[in-house]
Amino acid sequence: MNSWNAHEAVVIIDYDAGNLRSVQRACAEVGMHAAISADPEAVRRAERVIFPGVGAAGSAMRSLARHGMGDALKEVIKAGTPVLGICLGLQISFEFSEENATPTLSLLKGSVRRFRFNRNDLKIPHMGWNEVQVVKPHPLLAGIAAGDEFYFVHSYYPEPQVERDVYATTEYESGFASAVGQDNYFATQFHPEKSGSVGLRLLSKFATWNGQC
């Protein structure tokens, strides 16, 4: 049996999809020592995995394929390893993204669409701090109070097909799913590593999460 403490091997998946050091630094701040790795074997050996990413869905999927990382990720999720997706990581967990019309990993059912507004005063990207409403309890969201805000930067949003996969929502003209998950996989559209103390709290919960909901 694994002993789930904060010093087990944690791997942040590196697939050329953005600045991972900020995720690593925020993990360190909550006592979680995480290695950044592009090696699928390191992911397979990891006791917990963070799947971050900024950038475009098309190039992200190509990078995952090039590194052989998509398969490794699917394997560890199936094996019960706690996995945290962030931002683009969340988006490419679904089946399809409108961004570059890309078929994605299909870890969750649903697709990712571009924000489209009739009003001109709603800016794209959705950039800044916004409230995250917990709609279904989850160990990683424990301690989030009404009114707590997280930092977002994205022009596309997830549209999950399965309602029970949605753990939190956020309003930007209408509501969208801002935290989703299934069993040992959990993902946020917002950036916990850039969300001050509330974000650090979520990461500290992930540091000890056993993958059970």
Binding site: S22, W129, Y151
Partner: protein, 259 residues
């Protein structure tokens, strides 16, 4: 609902915090890392570091400052000043900057915006514009002109046209900095800010001229800015970050109020 952002800008010269008045005189006012940490703990929404170091051989000091701040501040960190290439942008990103501000070099070579957007994602590229009010002319039909090199060199480029071009090239956000208002503490240039914010779909950060809390209120409402950038009014201890946020919240501006 998305909150308006309060952003503090720290001008850094040779690794020390400086504040310019009308872009000419600068004086050192302290340790940037310590200030950044203080503002973060007091509820600041985002930080901007601007490197005004004159000599290029001292630029590595800025990377050290950025790295030190990124170790202890967990909000978005934006860095600019002297970014001329994708390599400059990448160095700052590796040091810990989330967003990269481009300014003069992008005016001289607009492709820099597209190159940086391709390399690190358009949402991480902030086009920072220094703008001077001028007589309306064929060259500058909006009545506002782009200036570069810290406000010293007028470029004969229309500010509205440049904002639209920057958006088209892939910038994720604009900083609208009024040279006329900068350092005066008499309020933001509301007309300019509203004009640009209405013209583009990307977020606009208002900069230059903040002196009292009602100036922030004005630019976030009438000025249609998505974020207000402050410098002297917090650096010299006249106002605390949390005090400004409480003031804006009290007047009905949506702000992040728990941190």
């Amino acid at each position: 609902m998305l909150s308006k952002r309060l952003i503090a800008c720290l001008d850094v010269r040779d690794g020390k915090l400086a504040k310019s008045i009308k872009f000419v005189d600068t004086k050192d006012i302290g340790d940037p890392v310590e200030k950044a940490r203080t503002y973060y703990l007091d509820g600041l929404d985002e930080l901007v570091f601007y490197d005004i170091t004159a000599s290029s051989d001292k630029r590595s000091i800025m990377l050290e400052v950025v790295a030190a701040v990124a170790e202890q501040v967990f909000i978005p960190l934006s860095v600019g000043g002297g970014v001329r290439s994708v390599a400059d942008a990448t160095d700052l990103r590796l040091a810990g900057a989330e967003k990269i501000n481009v300014n003069s070099a992008a005016v001289q070579r607009p492709a820099l915006i597209a190159e940086c957007a391709d390399a690190i994602g358009g949402q991480n590229i902030v086009l920072s514009m220094d703008i001077l009010k001028v007589e309306t002319s064929q060259q500058c039909p909006s009545g506002y002109e782009i200036v570069i090199n810290g406000g010293r060199k007028p470029m004969g480029i229309d500010a509205l046209g440049w904002a639209l071009e920057g958006e088209r090239l892939g910038a994720g956000e604009l900083v609208v900095n009024s040279i006329d208002a900068d350092g005066t503490r008499e309020g933001y240039e509301l007309k300019l800010t509203a004009m640009l914010s209405e013209a583009v779909r990307i977020p606009v950060i208002a900069s230059g001229g903040a002196g009292t809390p009602d100036h922030l209120y004005d630019v976030l409402t009438e000025g249609k800015a998505d974020a207000a950038l402050v410098a002297s009014m917090v650096h010299y201890g006249d106002y605390a970050v949390s005090e400004l946020k409480h003031y804006l919240d009290g007047r009905g501006v949506k702000m992040r109020m728990s941190w």
